[in-house]
Subunit: 351 residues, 2 copies
């Protein structure tokens, strides 16, 4: 796969959004969080999505000029009605407010309604970690999973992320969905003609399947982590996001690629000010001690290194900073087409 | 298995704790939460543990007269140093404070250090749900799991619970540990000479095993839900409890049955006041709508009913209320021995 400079791709993202009608602030903030995914190796949430975001803006399914309305504001909480604005932008603003509130009042919890897909969750929890606080965010997604015993998509795999700051190292970052694997893995296996392990999905009748097409594209359901545990966790995340925020929930959350309607996604985020509980240097020393315990514990046979959550991504960041972001030919062609459609000079972005 | 009246068993618990030196308030609160587990079918966390709790009190490994010290108190947060007091009692007090704070200030987050095993988590989150708020609690446990790639117990299966109030129904209650199954399941399989499915545990060298003895009692490690996801979730829960509270963490958390030292467990709890985000009746209607979507979704073949998190337990509550709590003969004998040792009249408890 050919590689491309991340800074230039980020500029392409920003210019594309501005050409589609976002103002500079929205475009830049969105660009920052979108390229974050590519820099971290979360390729499914990065520039791959640029064409669909632009399409949704063009078709009026993302509001270019949202009327952001804050309500129910207290020292430690608030509700944002994002008026169907660009997801990355509104999530960034909400996390900024959560950080400010936690800085002053220990802890904060903010819900966002009428949101949109906002890419990699870790990009927002790391904002809190940069300020020496613990960040948490969760969102609901279009339905992909069934409850335990079910055979119909009624719940998203509703991801959640935590980021915890470390002393002299990048933060500990958890960013996980509640399904064992993403649907994309089944699409890929299906394309390659490979079978999938039991435990990834059920077919549309609720039977365990090793056929990736039956498990996903033909109407199957993804299986949650830990069976009923992941089902429960996913349901709770939908309650904390869709139900509590006033957004869509369950089957009513719409797919990003369904351009017949808005997504209606909800989010929740929480920030904890560590210093309200423990002096920062003591917290940091204790955390390093725990992490060293984990990293230096006995390895399974043939394992060279134990990774902390987020460390694999840090390796990718360094590699992509030096060598660029790999783009599949098909995506490269789509980006060329998009830039020409938007009247942008592809040479400027190294495409 | 013979069944016993829950109210009488609760009285046995209370009288046993008082005979061992707890004051009446501590004994009654502990009794309430301990019998909760038996009433809900969480048999591993109920009266089964009475003998070891009494033993720990008698040996000075649980402090009968803890000097509870609150610090870092703000409108929405506090730190409790529980001085190695009885786990159920201190967790109850901390949750009460969290509820009071959330009632007045939207959200609260409380950490507890120097705690002890406190039984079924749901017993505390349901306190918040009873007050029409969302409750969350997590604790670290003695190490049972390895990080992904590891073969040594360095992390607990650090459970977490959420409870969400419903309109005219018992709350939605999630109470889950981060391992696929509890160690007790492997002990049982080992006793019965049965093999276990791959995915439950690794042996002490980090190899997948179907031998329950190798997977647990011989030094193996339990596997986390969703592989690296459950590992990450468990690590984050240890950071939120052990590290942030100032308690033991990782390998340093001690086992309940190791009577050579205190456990040093930490907890964190959060309460969210729903009304700060959405009027209660709107929240309730939206939640019912989501839950009906889930309950009434298409079932897998041969499935009769889809259960919401917590509903299986509600079925058990009703059954045990009518028919009593089943106790294995061995446990019954232990309770008889305990009551005689403590000078209690067994007849009084229907034993």
């Amino acid at each position: 796969m050919k590689r491309y400079n991340a800074e230039k791709l980020k500029q392409l993202i920003i210019d594309s959004f501005m050409a589609a009608g976002l103002d500079q602030e929205q475009a830049e903030i969105t660009g920052q969080h979108l390229i974050f995914a590519d820099q971290h190796g979360v390729d499914t949430h990065g520039i791959l999505r640029l064409p669909i975001y632009i399409k949704r803006i063009q078709e009026g399914l993302i509001n270019k000029t949202p009327n952001l309305e804050w309500s129910n504001e207290t020292n430690s909480s608030a509700v944002l009605d994002a008026d169907n604005g660009m997801g990355h932008y509104i999530t960034h603003l909400a996390m900024q407010k959560a950080i400010e509130k936690a800085k002053q009042h220990t802890i904060s919890f903010i819900t966002v309604k009428n949101g949109n897909h906002f890419g990699a969750l870790a990009s927002y929890t790391k904002m809190a970690a940069k300020q020496k606080m613990i960040g948490f965010i969760t969102t609901n997604t279009a339905p992909l999973m069934a409850p335990t015993g079910g055979a119909e998509r009624v719940l998203g795999n509703n991801p959640l992320s935590f980021a915890v700051p470390r002393k002299n190292e990048p933060p500990v970052v958890l960013d996980m969905a509640c399904s064992n694997v993403a649907g994309g893995k089944l699409v890929l296996a299906s394309k390659k003609g490979e079978s999938i392990p039991l435990g990834w999905a059920l077919d549309r009748e609720g039977r365990p399947t090793t056929d990736p097409f039956e498990g996903f594209e033909n109407g199957g359901v993804l299986l949650p982590i830990g069976g009923h545990k992941g089902y429960g966790l996913s349901l709770i995340m939908d309650i904390l996001t869709g139900v509590l925020s006033g957004s869509n929930y369950g089957k009513n959350v719409n797919r990003l690629y369904d351009t017949s309607k808005v997504t209606g996604i909800g989010y929740s985020m929480m920030v904890l000010n560590i210093e309200s509980f423990l002096p920062m240097d003591i917290f940091e020393d204790r955390l390093e001690d725990l992490l060293h315990m984990v990293e230096n514990s006995k390895k399974a046979m043939d394992v060279e290194r134990i990774y902390l959550p987020g460390q694999m991504e840090e390796k990718i960041i360094r590699e992509r900073l030096e060598q660029g972001v790999p783009l599949p030919d098909k995506l490269h062609a789509e980006l060329l087409e998009l830039s020409s459609e938007l009247g942008l000079d592809k040479g400027q972005y190294g495409l």
